[in-house]
Amino acid sequence: MPGSLTRDAITIALVTGVLVWVLPLIIGTYTLTVLVIYGMLALSLGLIWGFGGILCFGQAAFFGLGAYAYAISAINIGESTLPMFLAVLVPAAFAALLGAMMFYGRLGDVYLGVITLVVTLILFKTVNSTAGPQYAIGNARLGGFNGIPGFPTLNVPGLPDAYIWGDGYFYVCAALLGLVYMLVTALLRSSFGRVAVGIRENETRMSLMGYDVRARKTVMFAIGAAIAGLAGALFANWAEIVTPSLFSLGQSAEIIIWCIVGGLGTRLGPVLGAAGLAYLKFLLGQQALIDNALVTGLVLVLFVLFLPKGIVPALSGLWNFGFVRWRLPGHIHQRRRPRGRERTRNG
């Protein structure tokens, strides 16, 4: 990535600011809020999958854990500040344990997919079956398939009675997405991020150069879970109820589709993919003619067939092409000596 981190940070802040100002003129802030939250959730998978090479079929598990950690602790504590932190820490710790098990056990990619999938299923089943009054953590009844309603929602830190809701809540969510986006950018610019991309490209080579691949993947996995957990807590505040469907495989699948459609290996792609598809789903939800899942599936198939790299890589490819042609008409002819044996990029 060329340019400096400061410039990136300013760009991100400006773009976030403009979008937060313009978008509410077109879409209601209540809907926008959930688009922003899904964008953050997609970014969490986009980071570990697109840059870390870890395909997790259970990103929804961390989303759900974050939401439940928030709801349960908010009921017990009575305000939101500490619960917000717990919603980040609990999924991160859980992912660190799960990741250590998988990566130190030298499991192949397929097993990793299966295990994350199974863990999500187990969480879903477990939470789903906690309907009785005996299932409670402190004052919080888990409520089984009914979920947990009625927990304290986000308040200004230190002022438990100053709730943040409506437009204000949208601004908080958008600012947090901007902040997370900046942190992800900084991470990818850091040595840790560059090494992570190296590991995505060739684990064997990186370990032959002295990098402990297992430890680094575990950390990356936990960072992804922390972001997903934050998104989960924000979702809990938006919905004002948490239910086991947060852990569902359908939710996990959707996150993967957002990433594919938006473009893996980019930061912006997953965010756009999530917001775009979730908005489409919202529009379709207002009519009963076409089935929602059908459209999502159709979009995925079309993208895999015609735009397999996703929206953002396709657009930036187009942009670079046009830019080079326009700015440097002679550049193409000035390429260096031809290569003896050209290899394909993914060869």
Binding site: V195, M206, S207, L208, D212, R339, G340, T344
Partner: protein
């Protein structure tokens, strides 16, 4: 023990019924350059993978500078200061030449030093012109050269190369010979090779593998003229 770079005692690797390495005792002095030769399937790569931690030997021990490293994972062995190139190319194809080498340098240096080291390696291997190109787009010889750069970037004192000259043109081999000589001024090397001409040009002592065992270990001239070795290579019964 610093005068001994690498030792193995009774190193054995079984794959089911196949004994790919059979009680190999091996010793490499500091700054020594050793070639391993032997017909296909002799067990050279297996021996190599057992030393580098890519495989865990069934029996036997490995010592590096007197430290027992038997069964260590590759990253721990590499972290000791061991540079490794496997038989099949192992590089980060969709990253640039510069990024590849930087990643290798960063493991052993802080940020500023890593940038400097990367530049130094790029100059050493004359990669300046292709430094910003994706590695996957380069010709085979160039990729081999970059992989040698990845090995060199960590300033290793022990370098293990499995078939570095495979598939290279005469010019590329000549260039590689020069680089290897240069590396040998600071590191001991084990080079697994087939190319006899290449071996003659760099090696003094050669170890011959045959059916998982060390068949012979001697000066390159004596090895090359040995009737038993010649027979092994020609596939006749010794």
């Amino acid at each position: 023990m610093d005068d001994v770079a690498l030792e193995t005692y009774g190193l054995t690797m079984r794959f089911g019924g196949v004994i790919a390495a059979n009680r190999v005792d091996f010793r490499l002095r500091a700054l020594e350059l050793r070639c391993l030769i032997g017909p296909n399937g002799a067990g050279k790569s297996t021996f190599f993978r057992c030393i580098t931690g890519l495989q865990r030997p069934t029996e036997g021990e490995v010592y590096m500078r007197g430290i027992e490293t038997t069964g260590w994972m590759p990253h721990r062995i590499a972290s000791l200061g061991v540079g490794i190139k496997t038989q099949t190319p192992n590089v980060m194809d969709s990253l640039s030449v510069h990024e590849n080498i930087w990643l290798a340098a960063r493991r052993f240096h802080d940020l500023r030093e890593a940038d400097r080291k990367t530049q130094e390696i790029i100059e050493l291997l004359a990669l300046g012109e292709i430094a910003r190109d994706d590695l996957g787009r380069l010709a085979h010889g160039e990729r081999q050269r970059v992989e040698l750069g990845l090995v060199a970037a960590g300033d290793p004192w022990l370098i293990l190369l499995d078939e570095p000259a495979a598939g290279l043109s005469a010019g590329d081999i000549e260039r590689m010979t020069g680089t290897i000589r240069e590396l040998n001024s600071r590191a001991a090397l084990i080079i697994v090779e087939h190319d006899m001409q290449f071996i003659r040009s760099i090696a003094e002592t050669v170890t011959v593998f045959h059916q998982g065992k060390v068949l012979m270990e001697d000066h390159v001239d004596r090895v090359m003229s040995d009737p038993v070795v010649r027979n092994v290579y020609l596939g006749k019964k010794a």
